[in-house]
Amino acid sequence: MARSAFFGIGVGTQGLYTARTALEITNHNIANAETQGYSRQEGIQKATRPMANGPTGMIGTGSEITNVIQHRDAYLDFKFWNMTNTMGEYDIKDELLSQMELIFNEPTETGMTTFFDNMYKALHEMATNAGDTTVRSNLVASMDAFTDYIQDMGSQLSELQQEVNFGLKTNVDQINFYAQQLTTLNQQIGNLELTGKSANDLRDERNRVIDELSRIINVDTRELTDSNGKKTFRVSINGQLLVHDSIANYLEVRPRVTQNNPEDYVDMYDIYWKSGKELYLDNNNITGELKGYIDARDGNNGENFQGTVLSGEGTTSITVGSPSRTDIPQVGELNINGILIIYNSYTYDEVNDEITFNLGFPASVDGGTASMTDRNGDPYNETVTWDSDSQVRLTNASNQDLPSGGKISLNGDWVTYTSYSKGPAPDYEITLNIAAPAGSDTTTTFIGDDMSFKGVPYYVSQLNEFVRTIAKEFNTINEMGNGGTGTQLFAFEGYTGVPPLDINSDFSYEQINIHNFVVNSAVIDDPDLVEATALTDAGEAANDLILDLIELKHDTTMFKQGEPGNFMQSLIGEIGIDSQQVISFRDGQESLLLLVENQRLSVSGVDLNEETTNMLKYQQAYNVAAKIISVMDEIYDTTINRMGL
């Protein structure tokens, strides 16, 4: 069978095209050699379909580039994402703990220990010269400096917590931003790949976005191919769906109504899906920057409030026995069997070690406009009335489809209803019941979360314990002066002396914290209120109480860590060890990440030498193909012009 006369020119042209395409791919690779997330592309070159040429056999017809593929290993991506989120978590923790170390400012000559020691120096001065008023003023001034320093630490810790909270919000914004980018990319990739070819560069970009996203939170991706060959890409964060093809679930932050830890600054954020459900974070799988922020912000070393519900299910007043701590917020949320129930006040029974929580509205008001949320988590208002503090009636409910439990707010006071019932037609009056849910009794209840990390709340609570104990011990001694009517040396801001801090009760001292710890203002006004002696009618040089105060410094029973010095030392030790651990973990993770990154680059990276080689290779291929065409041209010249004439 005869072939077309111009067959040879056709093959040559194929060669030109193929070589040019390959050169262009090389060009693209070189141009993107340093592009973040870019993976090396390669043209798949194939010989075109051969032609049967009778007995001669198959004659080759040239070559073509059938596909442009990218070199990328999904397994390495998966490994990288898993490591980068741990890296993100420890980066944040390292940052926080470094700041914490700065706040504690030890060991220096200007740290808390120094201020504490200075106070003791002044006490010694006073012990050797109890009658001198200047010495006394010195003592009060040094006590004042100590409380100021503590308060300063308090506000710095608060600021740190707020910064971390803000970091968490930024993370949420970033997640939303990435989710939005992913939807766009998914759509573009979907459209482009309908042809069956892979949209390499867009895929690279999508993977890059996931690289970024996986720093923030642990990510799972899946690509599904339906029966028509259409591919859908899903991204989940911490096991919950974030992006499904071109649709994204967005997140938002909502300020907490109540405090998780009593040490918390107000308006800490919880993360919700815009659809209303809370983003489930409380498991051990979550990692990433977000985890770092949450641990840093909420970490309480597992010392959140816990207790056993003794009685009260079905009522507005539940009694909790053996509480793990009693310095809890005035208003808060009890977690009973996973249901969050707001309490508006509580009383502590010291004798039986029981706390009774009141779940009802704080004051009996007849009604008004209450804020509620519907099943979708959207807020709306409703006119309500109630007769008792345990029942709220919605007379003309605009929304008949309420969630079975939820929060209602009236003038800023929140309560939780755990069930409701509907009245008969035509009013369908709805009665919301505010009560501890059935099955509450004998269960363990808690406030906030049990977070094993030592974050801001942990250190604040430690310092709180320190100042409370110091205040109590100092006050106990000073109260022995002046015939047993000595003033209290340490108090909290706004303390008026009524009701007096009860030195026999720890509970009473829980009003003091590092934000309000001060020297009693009466003592500042009149340093003579620092009592030197418990003796009546003793002379000015009697110093027994001052000596008692000095002895406190070596009272090893004062804290579970020992004397006050030990307490501070072990606190600094804890920060140091935690920080050191985080740093070494992060460094290790960094090396691992570098390894995986390099493995990825080994597969996907552009190697300039290789590309140069390719460039030369394809250039020569092109040159030779061009030569073939000119050879063919000569053949035709010979055939047409010289033959037969």
Binding site: D117, A541, A542, N543, I575, G576, I583, G605, T612, T613
Partner: protein, 442 residues
């Protein structure tokens, strides 16, 4: 394995960065001279650093307390030494004056000298350290002896026992009689306040309590002098400050009893009652109440070690001593050179009085020596403590330095070798990154 350009730059950057980090650690150490900059650099060093800082501060504080204590003790010791010297001089004078060869004029001269010595003595007992009276117990702001006349009204309670009743010889109506008396802390006293204690004495139950007027005229049977009360009665002599008993009653005086009286005029040189008696000063606002207790001013000189640095006034000078001298001076000066029988008899008794004083002064000097030895022991202990604390300070400072300070030589060496490593890594990088295939294609 396929090696790409980005891999190479990544690795190089990572390694250079690591070298830089190590270098910066050494640089920080050299700049601060400390091994650690923050607790996480080495938590153990950080905690120990905190401990040592506190320890050193404490040791310094104890040392400063001890030094303060020594100064206090030295002031006390000097005063006690001076008082001992004065007492020795008084003893010498007494030895001379006790001799019967001395005539009244000689004795009067002696007494004048004793009076002079007493003035000096007052200055010593009021010794002060940084404005505080060292012998004042807790009442460091109250002098031990009145520096000027005081009209403060004091109400004093004195505690007596039957052993306090002494027998003295007095001239009454040209006869020497034995008087059984209890001497109060002061002469020239005011009215008795609380007689219940006296009337409750079993021997005097229902008896008449009699008092002299200020001029010591006799109340009671006219032929009996103030020193010879009727059985069952007590004479309260306000000018000399004595309670006088009839001989017959002495055996019946109860083992212990209290007597409360007031006094509102103190001469310069009188002992301040606050340091010697229980009672109150009603002239101050508010009324000052005082009791005699061993008031120890404790200085903390080491971990849980306290030392009383002060010496109580009554350990230095007793009220009896002061009264002995006062009585002698008063008696001697009162004797008129009129050669009357009374005067002659009184002169005869004077020798005994000097003798009595001599015994008192002797035992008093013994007391003073004891007191001085006590103070010496304290100074000794404080000095030993200071020595030990200085050593502690040295040890702790050394430990602290070892714990947190760098060895400059060592760090310098480490840094320069690290510097070499860093430079090498830079050099190597420049060699690796630069050439590519392009360099070799014409």
């Amino acid at each position: 394995m396929r090696i790409t350009n980005t891999m190479m730059t990544n690795n190089i950057l990572h390694n250079i960065n690591r070298n830089k980090q190590t270098l910066s650690i050494y640089e920080e150490q050299l700049a601060t001279g400390k091994k650690i900059q923050k607790p996480s650099d080495d938590p153990i060093v950080a905690v120990r650093a905190l401990k040592f800082r506190t320890n050193i501060k404490e040791v310094d504080q104890y040392k400063s307390n001890s030094e303060d204590g020594i100064s206090w003790c030295e002031v006390s010791e000097q005063a006690v030494a001076n008082i001992t010297d004065i007492m020795k001089r008084i003893r010498d004078l007494c030895v001379q004056a006790a001799s019967d060869t001395m005539n009244i004029q000689n004795r009067k001269n002696t007494v004048t000298e004793v009076e002079q010595l007493m003035n000096q003595f007052m200055m010593e007992i009021n010794a002060s350290y940084a404005g505080r009276h060292v012998f004042g117990g807790y009442k460091t702001n109250v002098p031990v002896i009145f520096k000027e006349v005081s009209t403060d009204n004091y109400e004093l309670t004195e505690h007596f026992s039957s052993d306090d009743v002494e027998t003295v010889q007095r001239v009454v109506n040209d006869v020497i009689v034995d008087a059984h008396r209890i001497r109060l802390g002061y002469d020239e006293v005011d009215a008795p306040i609380d007689l219940t204690d006296l009337t409750s004495l079993p021997a005097f139950a229902g008896g008449v309590v009699t008092m002299n007027s200020t001029d010591a005229t006799v109340v009671g049977p006219p032929d009996v002098g103030p020193y010879a009360p009727v059985a069952g009665t007590i004479n309260f002599l306000q000018d000399t400050g004595e309670l006088v008993f009839n001989e017959a009653d002495v055996a019946n005086i109860p083992a212990t009893f209290d007597f409360e009286y007031s006094k509102n005029l103190f001469k310069k040189g009188d002992m301040v009652p606050d340091h010697y008696f229980d009672g109150r000063n009603t002239s101050t606002v508010p009324v000052t109440t005082f009791t005699v207790d061993p008031e120890e001013i404790l200085y903390q000189i080491s971990y849980s070690q306290e030392l009383a640095v002060n010496t109580m006034a009554y350990d230095v000078v007793t009220i009896d001593m002061a009264r002995d001298i006062q009585e002698l001076v008063k008696t001697t000066t009162a004797i008129a050179a009129d050669s009357s029988l009374t005067s002659e008899l009184e002169e005869d008794l004077l020798g005994d009085m000097f003798g009595h004083l001599l015994t008192g002064v002797n035992s008093h000097i013994d007391n003073l020596l004891d007191t001085r030895a006590d103070i010496g022991v304290k100074i000794n202990r404080l000095e030993l403590t200071i020595n030990r604390l200085s050593e502690d300070n040295l040890n702790f400072t050394e430990l602290m330095s070892k714990n947190e300070d760098i060895d400059f030589a060592e760090v310098m060496v480490k840094m320069s070798s690290q510097d070499a490593v860093y430079n090498a890594s830079l050099q190597a990088s420049s060699q690796i990154i630069q050439p590519s295939l392009l360099d070799f294609i014409r």
